[in-house]
Subunit: 366 residues, 4 copies
């Protein structure tokens, strides 16, 4: 199979770099186009990035010599790539306009940015949870008068560790009424230079701008239903989130207490819950999407796990790892959940979305 | 005033060292006796500690040349000190027996250990909250047939950051029904060598053995009432705790969501709560105990505070610092609370307990 | 004694904040004027700094409400302060011009910046080493036609840990021929936001821009002699420096191997060296300058000291701590030296310079 | 090819775990025997290790259910494995006796321990440097009267980063006269629990017991010559080492200044040196040993590299990475060198040694 040529917008930033690194040997996609701010435009990628290459030792050789284009010059992308990953770091309105610009030129956009997350005909995808949400793309195209282009997004990284677990329970007849979540998030989530080391040595910071709101509300769209070509948000669960920054490179950890929306005698036992999580398998696993983990949820039994450095790479960085499942003294159950924020939570999650879209035919005939 | 000569049991361990460091210039007490395991006995303190002195640069000169005694040889303490601080690190039963042994010899024990926390005639003191619990000492003496000796304890360090805040609210007519707490605790809480660096570089550990149970249950004794010479535990609040170890030297941080045990129209506003906390003052402040902070609770308004390294020294390490007070989407309010675990939470908290006991006359005529 | 009113230029940056913090209770000086970039000008100091106050818990109350002036508007300083500490963060040429501007207006400048370090009539002071260099100020004033204003500077922070030790040896007849130094420097040396946490978690960075050159060359001016109203650099020692950034908040550590410029039979023994260091005392000690440490050099004998967190506060953060003095297999001796980079190495070093200038009469009749 | 069954002595410790992890998919060797202290003996490997499995997420499935034997019971190994990797953690004399015991039973020992490093008929191997040293094994067998068994060792981890570079220069006619080295070593080098986190948060420790001596002397044996069936140490270079522990998980960094043992006009230029390093290839590369890196030395040109987290995995963790090659102001050249201490410097280095021995026929007919 010929690989599909793809572009990366915001290619010099930390998430952009991860797209390039993770797509190095991808079986379906090949990076042929890189775009960034005007400051980088006109330089070879390796010169634009220079000593700020952050991931692994070397820039993949196929990309190092690509000329960086100005991301706002959409014409430059035509003929060079079939679709783009957007890791743009700008104001929301600019991103929204730019992503629409690419879509209008028949270049689909698989975005990491939050700009389009609340548009009701833009799917916010976690392929294990809501692969059917891709159906709203038809309405999106129609509404904008776009032919082949469209925008699909992924949610915030901070909720990835508990979304699949709560979806798996909901799907099996155990809906969640409310949950209180405290996250301990890795610094890579803030990009580069991101969090100053002065704040992360002998310290934590109990605040991440905008993160709690995203975590609390995005859950409802992800669990929503498609009606009339649009996504209608779910009614619950109600989420309260405390988001903290801790001195960890990669891997967001969440301490979760939750209450089921069921009478006591209908609530699942810890054994039932563990069984549901262990057996959880969904579209990406069944369709054998290249970036899908074999097991989307991994349950550990050691008393001191999951830990970011030891468990973040489970399932090639795409699995959620859960531990310390136990009764909660206030709600029904509590547990610790971990997800790799720059793999599942960012670039590799975006790639899985693209694989879903490819498998569903959205990249045919581009 | 002549200073009272005091002893430190477990003087070579991390908490013992802190007692010695913090008592260096104490206006009421003076360390004249140090005891530890048989391995250290017979050595000068500075030789027993050697290169394992952990706090500040130097061992206080008054203690460096004291001969270390075997802590289990109670006779050695007679005539050398009037009461002892216990920072023993042994099995619970051994500690319990040894502390009773000192008490039986008319040497009161102000203990940091958990061995006696659940004895109902042993007060578990936070002087801002339950100074009246000292009255059970009379019953304790009677029960054991002790003359002047007794045991008083302090609670676990992990709950110090939110105990004063919830007590202050309860006291003003706003009792708490239930709360979900996630702590991010400093490594000094585990003593030395304590937590391996392999676990604390690019990592957190979502588990601290025994800590969640202590946090959840000690609250009820601290808030209890004295009845018939014994402490009867309070009925609430119901607490669910997630305790995590993070790469911070000193300072335990807690993310708290709580629900009041009141009808909605009786619940306090955020402004009322902040006022209660800011104005909170109790016995240690009124009696001007030397180690008492001027303000037991400090409220900050920056969006990213409290932080351990910046706020742990507030009130000489004895104040609780609170920030991010806001509405909770699931319960009523949520906030972040910070307390210095080795000052308020350990040695300096023990010293404040001794100051309370001194002020109440329990060290008279020893 | 009435305190001298002083200003701080660059008052909102990390070094500027430290000046303000450290001058809080200074017996001779009082901050009455704060200046920074135009962006901060016109705001109260506390509003200009906001949540970026980095040191301790609170902004000193005497400064919090001062109006921040534009540092380039020198007129604003007239009548508000007698001299200024410069912690400006701008281009070298701008700083040079601005510092000259203040001097021309009869406002002496005690500077932390590197802009004027290589001007031969500007003294680069370490008061224990070259207090006599202040005599070049007369030539400096004459050359510029300044009346009471002048500029005095302090050297780079990375050499502070070994300058006093090598000066003490040189002074006692044991000159150094050459030395190879590897530093492990704290992140606070890079200001705020400074070094990204992404670079300082599970990592070190073996490079600090410009630092090795400064370390290698400033030594010669500091050890220089005053001739004809100017400083003539010393001929040696020859220094090779490897400068590294490590995950430490405060405290620069240096591993030093050095060779004496003497025949073997004239070289000092380890005992002689230790005696020289332990007994070292100089002008700041004799004149009892308020910020001078009682002992400028502290020698420790534990095999694993000095360590940044344990030893940086020695002598109120103004002493150099040395350990592991031993024979070198390649040169003559080797040792580890530690100095607090933001106290001795920056703001408090600047304050000690001002104290020297005050004691020598340079602030009289301003 | 059938895989050779191998054993791991000290299998439950950190280095032992790494052997097991790294041998998981080895093309030539297969772990069939695990031995440790009596405490672990009789348990399944997974039960002996429990929650102390330190590397990656899971114990390799082929080893998890192996029964752990008592390492001192050599009989238990007979028939279960052909040779053993020794990662024993005991007293030197015990290790020496135990390794000899295995050899006497026809079980060769490829050891990580330092016990036998100074025996002159035991080769201390770095396969890129001294593969010919295996020839002393004949003398060793003869001397002990062993038939097929023998002991081969690897050197200390702290010198791995600069040994290949200085050997490559020496080999090309540029011998080194002397060098001053400062290392910044990862905590994994101390095993588990190893270095307390209290020492590695906001701190470094300028001392590692015994490390400087090993670094300084082992160089001479590695570069030695075989004469009369024994290794005769090289005469130089003379090394002075400062060894420091820093908060890094894996990867030892060394700052090196060195002087050639040549007249000035015969010394190599920086370009020549870089060429020698870049082109360096040796027996493991030519024989394509499975664990050999394609390039044993990697030279980087960014001003701030190598860095442990970014460069330690070069060449699958088996390459040395060098950066900042430049003139030294005191000696001839200086540079920064990095090596993965638990891969090249420990278990994977041991595996490469075994591959060398296999390729040279030392495991034939066992």
């Amino acid at each position: 199979m010929n690989k599909i040529p793809v572009g990366v917008l915001g290619a010099t930033g930390m998430v952009g770099q991860r797209y390039i690194y993770l797509l190095k040997d991808h079986p379906w996609f090949e990076v042929t186009y890189v775009a960034a701010s005007p400051r980088s435009a006109g330089k070879k990628y390796k010169d634009a990035v220079e000593s700020r290459w952050l991931i692994g030792s070397d820039i993949p050789s196929g990309v190092a010599d690509l000329m960086v284009e100005d991301a706002s010059n959409i014409e430059a992308a035509l003929g060079k790539c079939k679709f783009v990953f957007s890791a743009l770091e700008m104001g929301k309105d600019e991103i929204k306009a730019l992503e629409a610009g690419y879509a209008a030129k028949n270049i689909p956009v698989v975005s990491n940015a939050s700009a389009n997350r609340w548009t009701d005909d833009v799917p916010m995808l976690i392929p294990e949870i809501n692969p059917d949400h891709v159906s709203v793309i038809a309405e999106q195209k129609k509404h904008h008068g776009w032919d082949k282009g469209f925008v699909a997004v992924k949610p915030n990284c901070s909720l990835q560790s508990y979304m699949a677990p709560i979806f798996a329970l909901t799907q099996k007849g155990y809906p969640i009424k409310r949950m209180i979540v405290t996250t301990m998030q890795a610094t890579s989530g803030a990009g580069y230079p991101g969090v100053p080391s002065f704040d992360m040595i002998d310290n934590i910071v109990p605040y991440i701008g905008g993160e709690e709101e995203k975590t609390e509300t995005e859950v409802l769209k992800i669990l929503g239903k498609v009606e009339g070509g649009k996504i209608v948000n779910a009614q619950g669960p109600l989420v309260s989130a405390h988001c903290n920054r801790v001195p960890v490179i990669d891997g967001h950890t969440a301490c979760v207490s939750l209450e089921f929306d069921l009478p006591d005698d209908k609530k699942p036992s810890l054994e039932q819950i563990e069984k549901i999580w262990t057996e959880f398998s969904a579209y990406p696993q069944e369709a054998k999407l290249p970036s899908a983990p074999e097991h989307a949820i991994v349950v550990r039994h050691e008393e001191n796990r999951p830990q970011p450095r030891r468990d973040r790479e489970n399932g090639k960085g795409m699995a959620v790892t859960i531990g310390r499942l136990r009764k909660c003294r206030v709600f029904d159950i509590r547990f610790v959940a971990l997800s790799h924020n720059t793999k599942r939570g960012a670039a590799m999650g975006g790639i899985l979305n693209a694989e879903l879209l490819k498998a569903k035919g959205f990249f045919d005939n581009l």
